[in-house]
């Protein structure tokens, strides 16, 4: 016999995964990352997601503005370089973090480090990112 458990979140309650994702995103839990093509790991403070994706001054990665991560950016299909529309799912998001290749199979700016993330870290970051909506 199998028993399925169902947890209901109260209003305003943040899922555990998203809470951990927020800690990873802001560097409260360190992430391991390096510049693509480099051998050395970068200091944790240099690779916090929030450094670029949440900078109030309009952070830029080299010549490209770093987008604010949220459900619209990740889940809405969009065209890149004239290719077919693509959107992220968790697997595509994790692939981007680990390899620098985005959901449209385009290698993104080198200024974004590549991360050595465990599956649970990636799941937490994904949960956090798609739980945000900057339009609201």
């Amino acid at each position: 016999m199998s028993v399925s458990l169902c947890f209901t979140l109260l209003p305003g309650q943040v899922p555990e995964d998203a809470r951990r994702g927020s800690a990873l995103y802001r560097g409260k839990e360190a992430l391991a990352a390096k510049v693509r093509g480099h051998d050395e790991w970068l200091p944790a403070e240099a690779v916090r997601c929030a450094n670029c994706h949440d900078a109030a001054s309009g952070a830029r990665l080299g010549r490209v503005a770093a987008p604010q991560l949220d459900r619209t950016l990740l889940l809405e299909p969009r065209q890149r370089r004239g290719g077919p529309p693509s959107r992220y799912d968790r697997a595509a998001f994790c692939k981007l973090l680990r390899t620098g290749v985005d959901a449209a199979s385009i290698v993104i700016a080198r200024e974004m480090p590549i991360y050595e993330v465990e599956e649970s870290q990636c799941a937490a970051l994904w949960s956090f990112a798609i739980g945000r909506d900057h339009a609201k």
């Binding site: 480099h38 051998d39 970068l42 403070e45 690779v47 450094n51 952070a59 080299g62 010549r63 200024e111």
Partner: protein
């Protein structure tokens, strides 16, 4: 017709003003002699950019101390180069982090930034005058706004000439190798 022409000319001029200055990487031929513009170092000492680099092979990066995005990564790269090249002074080598935010990057801010990244005596931080930024951006490349700058490393020979640009965020090993060959 005249309206659309003047509109397109205006658009062109606006684009020219805000367009990023992007340089390719590799050898620079002919080399570009760095200008004798005034700069102030983290210790408050004033000199010219040319004086600062003459007589030493220099790896130069652009940065600003309040930058949270690429600058901490650039600094980590220089920190690694510094570890790879002990005795830089004896070998006539140096690292230079040049601010593109001189309004905020006072000597005190530059000194704090150096401490944060464990810069040794042969890793200098300096800022130019605001009025010289455009000239420097033309040489070293920049993006379309003040929060943007090239992450290439600029290699300057002992005569004070820019002779090589790396690609963006180069490997520390590459910087160390070029510096030692200069």
């Amino acid at each position: 017709m005249q309206n659309s022409e003047s509109l397109s000319r205006r658009s062109f001029l606006q684009a020219a003003v805000t367009a990023p200055i992007i340089h390719g990487h590799g050898r620079i031929a002919p080399p570009i002699l760095l200008p004798g513009i005034k700069i102030v170092r983290q210790d408050g000492v004033s000199s010219t950019l040319l004086q600062l680099v003459k007589g030493r092979a220099t790896a130069l990066q652009l940065m600003f101390t309040s930058c949270t995005t690429t600058c901490p990564i650039e600094a980590a790269i220089f920190e690694r180069v510094q570890k790879m090249l002990p005795g830089m002074a004896k070998r006539g080598l140096q690292l230079l982090s040049l601010s593109n935010d001189p309004q905020n990057d006072t000597p005190k801010a530059l000194a704090a930034w150096r401490r944060r990244f464990h810069a040794g005596p042969n890793w200098i931080a300096a800022a130019p005058a605001v009025s010289d930024l455009a000239k420097l951006n033309e040489i070293f490349g920049k993006g379309s706004d003040s929060a943007d700058h090239s992450t290439q490393v600029q290699m300057v020979d002992r005569e004070g000439r820019l002779v090589w640009r790396t690609f963006e965020l180069p490997r520390p090993e590459e910087i160390a190798e070029i510096l030692q060959k200069m």
